[in-house]
Amino acid sequence: MSDTLPKYWQSLAERAGDPGVLEQARNEFAEELPVGTAFAPPDASSRRDFFKMMGLSATAALVACNRAPVQKVIPYVARPDEVTPGLALWYASTCGGCSAQCGLLLKTRDGRPIKVEGNDEHPVSRGGVCAVGQASVLSLYDASRARFPALSCKRTTWAALDAGVTEGLRKASEEGRAIRVVLPWVMGPTAEAAVRRFLTAYPTARTVRYEPLGELAAIGDAYRVTHGARVVPDYRFDQAKVIVSFGADFLGTWVSPVAFTRQYVEGRDAAGKREMARHFQVEPVMTLTGAAADRRFPVAPSDLAPALGALVRKLAVKAGRTVPALALLPPPTLAESSIEEMADALWAQRGHALVVCGGDDVASQVLASTANALLGNEGTTVSLADGLALDVDALSYGELLAEVSAGAVGAVLFLGVNPAYTDPRGAELEALLKGVPLTVATNDRLDETATLARYHAPDSTALESWGDAEPRRGVLSLRQPAVAPLHETRSVVESLLTWAGAARSHYDFLRSRWEAEVFPKAGAAGQDFGAFWDDAVRRGVVTLSSATVEAPAFREDGLAKALAGVAHPSVEWELVLYPTVAVRDGAPANNAWLQEVADPITKATWGNQALIAPARAKALGLEDGAVVRVAVGGRSVSLPVLVQAGVHPSVIAVAVGYGRTKAGAVADGIGANGYPLAALVEGRVRRAVPGVAVEATGEKQPLALTQTYHRLEGRPHVREAELAAFLANPRAGNEVEGGHGGGNDKHPLSIWSGHEYKGHRWALAVDLSACTGCSACVVSCQAENNIPSVGRDEVLRGREMHWMRVDRYYQGDEANPQVVHQPLMCQHCENAPCETVCPVLATVHSTEGLNQQVYNRCVGTRYCANNCPTKVRRFNWFDYKHDDPLERMVLNPDVVVRSRGVMEKCSMCVQRVQEAKATAKREGRPLKDGDAQTACQQSCPAKAIHFGDLNDPASTVAKLSKDGRAFRLLEELNIGSSITYLTKIRNTGSGSGT
């Protein structure tokens, strides 16, 4: 074929068949490339070299294409010490939420505190934090806090304020007029030292101790009567084998609920100790503590003292002592048999029993003190020596008002107290203060009291300031700031020192005081103070090994006088003003987390109600939401009725802490203020008020409840057993077998092949016996996972966003039911019903057993939520904005903020799990049980929640999942829940359980 083609030639030489030219034609390259010559001897040049050179030149060209950076990067030169972007820093500190002063660990990210957790090393609170403590981080960023010092509510400078205050104090002092410092009972040793320093500077100055609920004062005054010492003893519930509480909500709000919860749960560890304390609760309103009690007796508040008196009489008889003062007490209404039962139980465990009493009634506290003395509990369950000594010189608030009316007072300083709101005489304060030349408030905002004061010297929050606390004698807890003050606020200690003419920084004052007073007692021989101090600050708590102190002895002489006033009126209605677990006395009310967390008993959010007994409601034809007016002495509040099981029929109970007017945007106008209804009896404020008038107004107001159906319909979602039955059979009360699976992990009838977990398999175990329902976990979860608060209207529509909830169920008589709490979060089902129905695979199973929600992928069909048998999925109905520049600083950067239209739910704190895994990997070790903790688990004061790896047979969770008490929800559906619940054990002594 080639023959037919014409032959082309290029040169004459080629045509002529010149061999040199022909040779050249065979070469690929007609001429030698000169590239090699520049770098190598001419003879070394080759094709290979050519490629080398080509590669080099191409690389050089590419390198040359890469332009030098023109963006002006700003290096992080001024990086604060210790701060690494993206890494959390933890600071040990002390909670300022209430007088309990629990130990905290504050998590900060990039300089912002974002989470409060419990300090496991703190010997009193032992790692627990309550809802209020958890929420204090949100209060730090509260937009309604004062941002600068003020004169007559107008901005001023600290210098001007200090000059004005000092001048006013000097003047008052010179004129010999009284200077009064109104402050809480518990401030911490260093703050007390600052107060003393102030008092020394102004001879006419005295302290006025003020407490909205009067509980510490009542205890202190009672011990003054019975032991001659104004002290709040250290109660040890873990030492008690029988606990009798007369209205003390020690698991919820009373004195130190976090510490008490842990002690209580340890004393009732039926599985571990094979025995548990029996708990009797005598109370007018169903409280968290009453819900946990084995035996509960509803009584009218006026019957508390007589019933307690009758109990003490019986104990005295058993002890063979006659206490004549007891004869003065009126007879109780509570059944003789119930009192007998308690007396027998207490006497049988004398020395290891505990009688506590709540409320503001000194006579009742005197009786409780007498009971403990008769039982010989002092030194075991009640320790006066380790207790909290109260200010013996303090005036009462009533005395202050009398002085002010008399015109004898030249200056009043309110240190973080708010009597204008919390005192029944609050309304009179404004007029009274007009006669006082100098009024100063250090409250954190321009609240009801601070607006009445001339000067406002706002205190920094506990998260911004130094400080210390002594929650038990010898346990010194340090507070260190996790952030510099966000606003122009100043620690109250610094303010006091400045006004006393001894201006020092809080830090210097604290450190020097510790050097002078704490360090010598610390037994840190051979250590220098600097090292001791650094260690103390790092650990947050120091335990002093001081010698035992002789506790004062019980004496009867004051009893008759103390008990003389006890009356037992027979009235139609008795009002009980009680604190709730969330907003307590109302101080932290302007906090959306606390407003939205459901009350553990009523399940109500955003506001207070008038609680009445079911029988009474039926008789009066009142239903939930019917507005009633509660009136006494010309003052009244209108509140919606909430029919509450377990309330005594003659009681109408109103939670305090609501109805704020100047707390801020969140709390103002939510609920109604019950404080003005409190009674004044012999100069003392009493929050149990007999003889109130209750009338229906005919109006209706819907209640924002998170749980609207309270019966279990006989379903086995919670299981319980009586102690005796449990000891005989570890599976007692748990014999309900699931359907297909039969309660084990094999699903013989499943059509699913099941998941394979080669590494970890995360799971939770929740001990219903330990859980008290306090809801600290709910707030902790909300803080950890950036869960929005949705407000009252949305809760009314049933759209609260909490990833975990605490279900509350009643059992038995509605007048006095038994209560079960069940924390419920995503069950992370093995065969998750949600996973199969999502059309876009937005919810999938992880290789570690977690059911994961992929927010980015979710289109929001809500099919998963419908098909969720436990209804734990939460939908973003709207764009819940986090756009307040201050408040959004609380967001956890490790957890994405969800947009509207997507589903969300418990992730088992996957961000914490991943962090723990990364840490373990970096440290080159396997993950240990306990390395990863979920937020709910960490803050649980009862340690009822356990998280871990089911594939690790040594883990707590793996062991608990095989426990006789273990059951899972809806086993008959074969969903294969990863959450193990442990049956609740009761010690009612009534024989076998359910």
């Binding site: 529509r797 049933g798 279900d807 289109v859 929001g860 809500r862 509207r900």
Partner: protein, 493 residues
């Protein structure tokens, strides 16, 4: 279409004598006349409702699903109730056109076109809800399995919602094609009647070059038969799959194997009721009483009696199984339906769906258009409540009593639902104006049905299969029967 029934013992399907030309004239008349004020009024109302509905949907999409009354426990209510309701309505059309066609039910010819149009419009209304009920409706396309650059993301073929996407879209596509193919001969008729202009051009394109030749007719009928065969299983599949949204879940009251046949029967039941509602209005307004006769209505009521019976049986079976299963959740779900807070909805459903169809056993009621009209509305109300009861009462109290709650619709939900009626009637009114609402070709094939007096010589000609009709003026009047209202230029629609 294929064979005539000339036995005088049968009742005629077209009750009055008409020539072929008169039929063409009568059916084409509404399209060729300017609309009357009545049509305008009806259209204005429908469009206003549609506009309001569209505004409400825009507000909802702009603000969030939170403007509905749903909550953490009840995640579906009006949205999916309306979806299933409209899908159910959309059942009758294809059933009438496909299944009745296969069963050679000649009476279907007068109603199938409108019923199919109703199907398409109802499915459009239905398809709206799965989109707008999403939290992020702008991402609704994520439910489609299309190649994407989002890594390994794909749809979940285990999800009944995905099956829905396929079932509904297939059903809509096949129904639309079936409807359009059936329209082609009539579109050609309209084309041929139209004078030159846009109208002629449009119908020329739409009629796909129809010539009316024997070959065309033959192929047309083959295609139509095949499409009928294709559409028939879809009638059953679409609601079967819709029912699986519920049946494959774990929720007591949803997790029921009886759902597929029960839903299909319910859909036919409600679909026929809706066809009746529309046809009774249409036949009166357009004067088509002789085309859509009492006999048509009667036949449809009989279907309603049967499907109503199946539905009643299903209700009974559900309750029985709930008791017989011994499953406490199932038992509670059904007790709660009948005696719980939504008992009023349950008993509304029972009254409308179980009791009211039995009135059709009475010939007097069965042959009274007014009574049928009222009952057809009652049945549609009942069927709406059936879906509401299934969805809401099952969800609001499921397993854990702690999460039980109540659901109350908001005005936005009610407005959206009413808005879909605006969409439906807007489309239907437009349909009445722009397309022949009765299949001209098919009705002509039954014109001589059961008519002894038909001239013998007319029979072998198979008039329906012949070339386009000559103009009526050419053919000359028959014995001057009163023409339908619509043919008279003076009497408006």
């Amino acid at each position: 279409m294929s064979h005539q029934h000339l036995s005088p013992l049968r009742e005629p399907l077209v009750s009055e004598a008409r020539t072929l030309g008169q039929l063409t004239e009568e059916i084409c008349a509404p399209m060729e006349r300017p609309p009357t004020w009545k049509w305008w009024a009806a259209f204005a109302i429908a469009v206003s409702i549609l506009g309001t509905g569209a505004g409400i949907v825009a507000y909802q999409v702009g603000t969030g699903i939170g403007v509905w009354g749903l909550n953490k426990t009840v995640g579906w209510a009006f949205d999916i109730t309306n979806f299933v309701f409209w899908v159910g309505i959309g059942h009758a059309g294809t059933l009438i056109s496909a299944i009745l066609f296969l069963f050679r039910q000649k009476w279907r010819t007068s109603i199938n076109r409108a019923a199919e149009a109703m199907t398409l419009f109802a499915v459009m209304c239905a398809a709206l809800f799965p989109v707008i009920h999403m939290g992020r409706p702008w991402l609704a396309f994520w439910v489609l399995p299309y190649p994407n650059d989002r890594g390994s993301l794909w749809v979940n073929f285990r999800s009944p919602l995905l099956w829905d996407v396929f079932a509904i879209s297939t059903y809509f596509t096949v129904s639309a094609v079936f409807w359009y193919v059936g329209l082609i001969p009539d579109l050609a008729t309209v084309r041929d009647r139209a004078k030159a202009g846009i109208r002629k051009a449009v119908f020329k394109v739409l009629s796909l070059g129809w010539t009316g030749s024997h070959r065309t007719w033959s192929r047309y009928e083959t295609v139509y038969l095949l499409l009928a065969g294709l559409a028939t299983p879809l009638v059953l599949s679409v609601h079967t799959i819709v029912s699986m949204d519920f049946a494959t879940s774990v929720i007591p009251g949803w997790h029921t194997t009886i759902f597929p046949p029960y839903f299909v029967a319910g859909a036919v039941f409600s679909g026929f009721a809706m066809v009746l509602t529309l046809m009774i209005i249409t036949r009166v307004v357009l004067g088509y009483e002789h085309l859509i006769t009492i006999r048509h209505l009667e036949n449809m009521t009989k279907v309603i009696i049967v499907t109503g019976g199946i539905v009643s049986l299903a209700y009974g079976t559900e309750v029985f199984i709930a008791w017989y299963s011994g499953n406490e959740y199932e038992r509670y779900a059904f007790l709660n339906r009948a005696f719980g807070p939504y008992a009023w909805a349950y008993w509304t459903m029972v009254t409308c769906n179980v009791v009211s169809p039995h009135l059709f056993w009475f010939k007097k009621i069965r042959t009274s258009p007014a009574a049928i009209f009222v009952l057809s509305l009652v049945i549609n109300v009942g069927m709406w409540f059936e879906r509401f009861v299934i969805i809401v009462t099952s969800l609001h109290r499921d397993f854990l009593p702690s999460s039980w709650s109540m659901y109350t619709p908001t005005m936005v939900e009610v407005g959206t639902f009413i808005g879909t009626f605006g969409l439906f009637f807007t489309l239907f009114l437009l349909f009445v104006r722009v397309l022949p609402i009765i299949s001209i070709g098919e009705v002509k094939s039954v014109l001589g049905f059961a008519r002894a007096e038909v001239p013998v010589d007319a029979e072998p000609r198979k008039p329906a299969h012949s070339a386009p009709e000559p103009l009526p003026a050419v053919q000359g009047p028959m014995a001057a029967p009163a023409l339908a209202l619509v043919t008279r230029k003076d009497a408006p629609v």
